[in-house]
């Protein structure tokens, strides 16, 4: 375990790197209102964050990340475009007994830029890669935008697409839904019998609770529509599987995606963006010929990424968490800015200085 003072010093050094590149240093409160985080991440965050209670303000959480407070700060009074850097501890409760730290430092770099999102993606990746370059790490990248575009383009009902999009960050659930919509898995227990009735709501007993009879009737209607809809075709499911299974260098992936886009034109724009990003990365000196791309990358994080995603890993130390991770989270800013109709395209990443130190120490031996 490295000394906390050393970790803080390393964090400050890394933050200095981002400041030198023009980022404004910002701070965030450690205590965050629980309501906002619960609204964004759902009940799961309760298992992963430290929840505490303030007698006046109610439930609060020790910040599980900086993203939310930095976006809020920017939306409140930020000028555009904006580049921020920050450092500090984040807190993650570990429900299962693991060796993972429940409190650790992050140094972050975030870009809010409406006009040149692809350029911003490349900038964040390249700056973080530069900052970590002495460590010779493996970078993995992905693009949630591709998958989102593919699902939006499926030839099926809007309700099915909405259900798939809602679970895109829960791979098992997504798969179960896709199998059902493709007619490859049985309907949930009891569904057929219920739909076979002329009036399923007959003999249902008294109407209790907030969920009204009209809401129940609406869902029955939706289920009837679903039962009548044609299954998603095998060809479309296979194309989706191809997308999800991609695991190649960026250059090879691009040619593969051009092939897929012939049968799945909905992803064409996303492929164009991927290509433009590869070019922007190349211009910044990133070795895109050897840059790994994974079709499913970014699907299991809770960070709400919906575009470019990346992570840096020490291949010689699979026991360590990623040294850095990041991505684009435009949707998160839409949710946070919902009340005032604000949104701001945003991309950023975080480095864990403790891991950087540990790798440095390992290399010196």
């Amino acid at each position: 375990m490295t000394d906390k003072a050393q970790i803080r010093a390393e964090a400050a050094r890394l933050m200095g790197v981002f400041e030198a590149k023009g980022a404004t240093a910002v701070e965030a409160d450690i205590l965050q209102p629980a309501g906002t985080l619960l609204d964004l991440y759902g009940e799961d965050i309760r298992g992963r964050a430290f929840v505490t209670h303030d007698p006046i303000r109610g439930e609060a959480m020790l910040r599980p990340d900086f993203t939310v407070p930095v976006v809020q700060m920017h939306m409140a009074d930020g000028a555009e475009p904006a580049r921020y850097t920050y450092m500090g501890e984040v807190f993650r409760a570990q429900e299962e007994a693991t060796h993972r730290a429940s409190e650790y430092f992050q140094v972050g770099y975030e870009v809010f830029d409406r006009d040149a999102p692809i350029e911003a993606d490349a900038e964040v990746f390249a700056f973080i890669q530069d900052a970590l370059s002495p460590l010779s790490l493996r970078a993995a990248t992905g693009d949630m935008g591709l998958l989102l575009a593919a699902v939006r383009g499926l030839k099926t009902t809007d309700r099915r697409k909405a259900a798939l999009l809602r679970h895109i960050w829960r791979p098992r659930r997504f798969r179960a839904l896709l199998d059902r919509f493709a007619g490859r898995a049985p309907l949930p227990e009891g569904r057929e019998a219920m739909l076979a009735k002329d009036d399923p709501m007959q003999d249902a007993g008294p109407q209790i609770g907030l969920r009204s009879a009209a809401e129940i009737a609406d869902r029955i209607e939706a289920l009837r529509e679903d039962a009548a809809a044609a299954p998603i075709s095998t060809q479309e499911v296979e194309l989706l599987d191809d997308l999800l299974g991609l695991r190649e260098t960026t250059v090879n992936v691009l040619s593969r995606l051009r092939d897929i886009a012939v049968d799945m034109p909905a992803i064409a724009d996303a492929v164009d963006r991927l290509e433009a990003r590869a070019e922007a990365l190349y211009q910044r000196g990133v070795d895109v010929d050897n840059l790994d791309f994974e079709g499913s990358y970014g699907r299991t994080s809770m960070e709400y990424y919906d575009g470019f995603v990346f992570g840096f890993y020490a291949e010689t130390r699979p026991d360590l968490p990623p040294v850095a991770t990041g991505g684009r989270y435009d949707a998160l800013t839409r949710v946070l800015g919902r009340a005032k109709g604000h949104e701001i395209p945003a991309v950023g990443g975080v480095i864990r200085p403790e891991i950087v130190l540990e790798l440095n120490a390992g290399g010196a031996k």
């Binding site: 759902g42 609770g209 809401e215």
Partner: protein, 232 residues
């Protein structure tokens, strides 16, 4: 040094625990007045009986303040994160059976499975502007279960009693609770979701991994295990 065994301090769970040990030649008995929480063990030396609330036995086991303890398997899983690192199961005792289940109003004819619950929760949130509320006191077990099954757009609201009434009172849309016969649920116009229960609970004899296991307490456990017919 004595081996401490914690058992529930009242009610049917205490009586059945006493019966279970008695049937195996280890007599547990309360001593003193009816109201005094004191007890003794006959038929075996070196054991001290500690009467505790069933809900506190998991914590005492985890802290190693008792060597053995009898409580519901649901309580250990709910109250101890990473429970298998803290306690081990010596015997499933075959009583105190109860299922931890999720129930919704019977009038929700469109909701029969967790899959339906997830879809209904999405629609509910869109309609009402907040996440569908599930009243429970088993926060950890329910949250893990719903996460494993990919249910989103719900929130847990704490309910320490009369949980079945929360739907009618409109403080929750669904409930997650322990039931053995389902009668209270039916009386409150609720139905249990199809599929396996979240957890099938029963009274269980647990061994603490953190208690002081020295030569003398290990020897006592071996003698006790012999009498109870357990592998120690």
């Amino acid at each position: 040094m004595t081996l401490k065994i914690g058992v529930p301090s009242k009610g049917r769970l205490m009586e059945k625990t006493f019966d279970w040990f008695g049937a195996r030649g280890v007599e547990l008995a309360r001593t003193g007045s009816d109201r005094e929480y004191a007890a003794a063990v006959n038929g075996i030396d070196g054991i001290e009986l500690v009467l505790l609330s069933a809900g506190e036995i998991p914590r005492e086991l985890a802290a190693g303040r008792i060597h053995l303890g009898v409580t519901g398997s649901d309580l250990v899983r709910e109250k101890l994160g990473g429970w298998q690192d803290k306690v081990s199961e010596l015997a499933l005792m075959g009583f105190g059976h109860a299922d931890l289940i999720i129930a919704v109003p019977k009038c929700w004819v469109d909701v029969n499975t967790l899959d339906d619950l997830d879809a209904a929760a999405a629609a509910f949130r869109a309609q009402h502007g907040f996440r569908l509320r599930i009243a429970t006191k088993f926060h950890r077990l329910i949250r893990d279960h719903l996460r494993d099954h990919g249910v989103a757009d719900y929130q847990l609201v704490d309910s320490q009693g009369a949980t079945e009434g929360t739907v009618k009172n409109e403080t929750a849309e669904a409930v997650a609770d322990i039931t053995s016969t389902g009668e209270t649920l039916r009386a409150n116009h609720l139905k249990i979701l199809a599929g396996k229960p979240v957890h099938k609970s029963q009274a269980t004899l647990f061994k603490s991994r953190n208690a002081d296991w020295n030569e003398s307490t290990r020897a006592t456990l071996a003698t006790l295990s012999g009498k109870l017919g357990l592998q120690s």
